[in-house]
Symmetry: C2
Subunit: 134 residues, 2 copies
């Protein structure tokens, strides 16, 4: 059921300096910043050979990462995103096992324009898990 690691998301307080570090010091290929107001973040993609890292900076008043950054002012790893072929099948299997799906349990269109769900960190070793249908 579990496919590729789509991305690791890192919440950062200062997108410009975090991007510069990955680009200039680590020599990584990075995208231009993309504002995603519907998702409350501005994102930079660090394009690695096999997957990507997404640097997320809060955008707007109700950013979903504002609370995380209040607790972790330096930033930190925010979530991992795994690809699945059928997100409804994955959700039903997870719910049957007792895992909690965040929100109303219905897939939403995520930052990449594809259906996503988030799973409760308490059920996944303290790790916020996003599933994305590809």
């Amino acid at each position: 059921m579990l496919g590729r690691l789509n991305h690791v998301a890192i919440a950062v307080p200062d997108l410009a300096s975090a991007t510069a570090l990955y680009r200039d010091t680590l020599g990584a290929k990075v995208s231009a910043p993309q504002a995603l107001p519907d998702h409350g973040v501005t994102v930079v993609f660090i394009e690695l050979d096999n997957t990507k890292v997404e640097l997320l900076e809060p955008l707007g008043e109700a950013s979903p990462i504002a609370g995380f950054l209040a607790k972790n002012p330096d930033g930190g790893m925010h979530h991992v995103c795994y690809e699945v072929e059928d997100i409804v099948e994955a959700r039903d299997r997870l719910k049957a096992s007792g895992a909690r799906v965040l929100g109303d349990g219905e897939p939403k269109i995520g930052a990449h324009g594809k259906p996503v769900l988030f799973l409760h960190p308490k059920d996944f070793s303290g790790t916020l898990v996003e599933l994305e249908q590809v």
Copy 2:
């Protein structure tokens, strides 16, 4: 300079239940547990199509993840590991930019039998970064 994402490491308080969740509920391919007493962890590899997730459980009295789990009893994302071709060149470039290398700054043989270094989370948006020479 920055190559593949070698792995994401997740510290877990209970390796057996974390493994079962990934294997049985998410349908992932998982390895048998491997005790690495020199590194103070027992590890299970979750083999994804493009990279791997490593579940780490403390092993022994001086486990390097014991403090992390004391602060995060449910577990959590512990570090990311990026591949580099020349770890000494990478280290020198990082140090020249002001980034801090943990320990004595010399590469050590890591859990995969290859030279590794860890970089200070304060310099990488609150994220512990491992570099592995491949």
